[in-house]
Symmetry: C2
Subunit: 569 residues, 2 copies
């Protein structure tokens, strides 16, 4: 931002919050269902009324916020979600946000902050970004208890005949720690376990995280935990968490974590923050149960899906909605002037370096040169039968002519479009977008899945590749084809699929901008997430444990002379 | 117990709890200082009034609960602490408990439960034993952030010239996971870090845990974190957390965890549950700040030290009280009929097997045969200038003649003595003990340390060995002598010492019962905990990461058909 503007942390720290009991009361969540964690955070306790039926009864509108293909500049998708929820109040509508919980690890890496920005933030931001109510820690514990029980089983004689070379269940930690990616455990003496190679992923990559996000009830959660496949016997049979008798204790560890967290925006809009699976190898969406609670108590529920519409939104539609039984009424596509300029391919942007001079100059032509990406994402949303609304996240450095260029692109593609200034102005700057979304919700939407349950796994992958990404087809490596056949044989053929590819292009090649055509999706490997309930295809190098940089933000986080927390953002 | 008696979990689940706000109000903790975590748990927020001066101002009495040398049967030390606190109310005295937080790992091993027993328990017990307010998770994160920053530093060129073969800082996890004891990290490709051997300890073994327990203020905590020595340069110089610029971010992770947790006993006595360092290599005592809060708000503060008086109580006096500036008024020595029978050496007790038939029969003679251990522990307490009170934790299977035998042993040794039936009867069965403790507190106590700050490190170890344990002397291995010399040279000679030896004997040989004489303490190795503020001498094999058994309790924890948590205890 070129104008003098307070930092996100300064705005958040200066904001007067309402007691969370008042936020809950304002949205009709009863006090008995509220478990406060301090004055400004609470757990909403689920009960037998938390169901898809009750969520649907009220006829509330369900809106997913997605975006064009991410650029290094950031599109402000969370900021737009928060902006929109705040904007709803300014046009007299009652909205609730449902968002993912941020992971702890990245806070100490480059920068944390899944809290939005400027005057459209979730607060208290320090709590949000540091531990919150401990859900990720509970998920880490549940995951690693299973890991410990696997190695303990090997140590005590391996009665289940587990093939030590075929254990896919690793350990997790909510930390950017590259040294744990590949490790050998069980060294030392005989009493120190069985040596084998394994590793750690970051907690958002845990299948337990996806289970918390997708389970529709605590009973469902327990059943999903039991179904987790951790590896195979020497005869090739699957070994489950239930076989290891780990599922009950894992569920015990997750009792509190399964209840959504209630926070607020700077303008006191209720925000249910719950679960945070990775957007690359996992579903990248917040929890089903938080959406149930939101829909039961609000007229509009605004949720956010990870990365671009090809990634998080595709999984939102094909996996999350299929599981939850919910049907979205509209999809908001976040775009910025800079992101379309970036997708034009006319600039070379290097993270951490100043922007190219040309990019800062008024140029609707350069914006139009990046149109293909936006148009493709509009088409993707429409392929699901859902109404798209293009949200232009305005920056102070933008020019009106550039906004106008985006408006024309969107309208030509038949989408509603609105500019919002939620970061600079809060909800008051988002009424146009709020009106557009309300109008879209009043139109007919009828969710269409990309594939049927009964399609074969490879057909499912192929349909996503062709119908969503616009690929010519898929190329399944021989080993992957064998795995697919095995999963079908083991009875997992009915599951939906998650395609783990780069998020930096609609294609599987991160360097291809815009809306690539004439390419084939390479399926290198397929893996099973039997508990979460999908098969995922690895189509590229997936990083499941980040590292820290040469000068990580952890070095700057601390306390000033007055004892005030600094450096977090 | 031979009588039909409900299980601890059944008693705890049936108990009506008071809202934690009422518990706080009853002890004068203001609502502004209270941060509720649900209805029955709260954090007590520390502020600038939380100091030794304010803790001492009121003249409250400070009581430490310790025990004879632990036996496989369990002495009920926590149950006695809870009993005594409850008993105080029955004689019209206002008491607060300060106890350690239980670790999560052991809950899934043999059995959890640092919650007391029967009608003398801390509630809510499920919260207490599963996550509580997440302090241990925060400590785990802070510890592992430093670990990640060490490996990240090596990866990015090792500008500090750290000797990779001389890094003592490991990682921690709150899990019984033996396979993580010895691991190789940093395998894979060039971008996956620098390969080296290291390992995981369980979280209670973390130096960060000790820092949380010993720090007298948040400023002190930050300074201690900064002083942590993680290893040495190639030139032998110490590398600190501050050198790695990790201390600020570690402190940010510990902001909430540094505030004590308020819970209640079954009879609504306030219980401050905070920190839980290991009793073998660490201090084995709950936090200094919780004691400050307790003393400020109560007439009697009852705290508990790990293992026997030679272990936790010695460290309570020589390390914790030296750090906190507090002086105890009395020490309660918990003993049972069975523990003295066990110390007689007349029985062979195998954990998990039924007790020997003879042990269940009335035999004051066998109790007297184990007297030496109790007498020695009375002497240990008295060596610190503190009034001992022997507390006989009565079991339904005991005989009066056996209680009488203990009474005679204690009185002959010049200690007060009282029987309590807190487990079976709650506080009503503890009035005799409560009266004895009040009387002891009215006597003169004047804490005498075993050694002076100015003594050399080896003199300190020798004084503890001779004056506390009753050893003939110490035998320092050449490598350990070199380490001691190095620590003195580096300016750590003024620190107190922790002697990491077996807790199953007053000597360093676990098989020696009673009060062994004619032995020498072997000092195999010495290590530095510069942040926590002590040097510790390894005198035996210390396990810092437990494992799970062949049939761990995790396999039995889960939910019944009504969705009720079962198998936890």
């Amino acid at each position: 931002m070129s104008k003098p503007f307070p930092s996100d942390l300064e705005i958040a720290q200066a904001a007067p919050m309402q007691p969370i009991t008042e936020i809950a009361a304002s949205t009709g969540i009863s006090e008995e269902r509220l478990e406060p964690y301090g004055k400004y955070v609470a757990k909403v306790l689920l009960d037998e009324t938390t169901t898809a039926e009750n969520a649907l009864k009220k006829g509330s509108k369900y809106i997913v916020v997605t975006a064009v293909t991410p650029t290094p500049l950031g599109e402000g998708k969370t900021a737009t979600s928060v902006s929109l929820a705040q904007g709803m109040a300014h046009i007299g509508k009652k909205a609730t946000l449902t968002l993912r919980e941020p992971a702890l690890g990245p806070v100490f890496g480059v920068k944390g902050g899944a809290s939005g920005g400027g005057y459209s933030q979730i607060v208290p931001m320090e709590k949000l970004n540091l531990h919150l109510t401990g859900d990720f820690h509970a998920i880490t514990s549940a995951h690693n208890l299973l890991s410990a029980m696997i190695d303990n089983h090997l140590h005590h004689g391996n009665k289940l005949n587990i093939d030590v070379r075929n254990i896919s269940w690793r350990r997790v930690m909510d930390m950017n720690d590259r040294s744990l990616r590949n490790i050998i455990v069980g060294l030392g003496e005989r009493m120190d376990g069985v040596p084998r190679e394994t590793g750690f992923d970051i907690t958002p990559a845990s299948e337990v995280m996806v289970i918390v996000s997708l389970a529709s009830s605590f009973t469902d959660l327990r059943e999903r935990l039991a179904r987790i496949v951790i590896g195979y016997t020497m005869d090739g049979g699957p070994i489950t968490a239930q076989n290891l008798r780990a599922d009950g204790a894992m569920a015990a560890l997750l009792q509190d974590a399964f209840n959504p967290n209630l926070l607020q925006t700077l303008e006191h809009t209720p925000a249910l923050i719950h679960a945070g699976p990775f957007g690359n190898i996992a579903t990248g969406n917040s929890s089903v149960v938080a959406d149930y609670v939101g829909l039961e108590h609000s007229d509009y529920v605004i949720t956010e899906a990870g990365f671009g519409a090809d990634m998080g939104a595709e999984r939102f539609f094909n996996v999350k909605c299929r599981t939850s039984g919910l049907k979205p009424n509209a999809a908001v596509l976040v775009v910025t002037v800079r992101s379309l300029k970036s997708h034009s391919g006319l600039y070379k942007i290097v993270p951490g370096k100043p922007l190219p001079e040309r990019m800062l100059q008024e140029s609707p032509a350069d914006v139009k040169a990046g149109a293909a990406n936006l148009v493709k994402h509009i088409e993707i949303v429409r392929s699901f039968g859902v109404q798209p609304v293009v949200a232009i996240n305005a920056f102070p450095s933008d020019f009106d002519s550039e906004h106008e260029a985006i408006r024309m692109i969107a309208e030509e593609a038949g989408a509603r479009v609105a500019i919002h200034r939620g970061v600079a102005e809060g909800g008051a700057g988002v009424t146009e977008l709020a009106e557009a979304v309300v109008a879209a919700c009043d139109d007919v939407s009828d969710l269409v899945y990309t594939y049927e349950d009964s399609d074969s796994l490879s057909t499912k992958i192929e349909k996503v590749a062709k119908r969503v990404y616009g690929a010519d087809g898929i190329e399944v490596a021989p080993a992957a084809a064998q795995q697919l056949a095995k999963f079908e044989e083991l009875g997992f053929g009915h599951l939906p699929v998650v395609i783990a590819k780069t998020h930096l292009s609609i294609s599987s090649d991160a360097s291809l901008k815009g809306a690539p055509t004439g390419w084939t999706l390479p399926v290198r490997e397929v893996r099973l997430a039997a508990g979460a309930g999908y098969v995922y295809a690895i189509c590229g190098t997936m990083r499941t444990m980040p590292g820290l940089g040469a000068s990580p933000s952890a070095e700057r986080i601390g306390f000033d002379e007055d004892g005030q927390l600094v450096g977090l953002f």
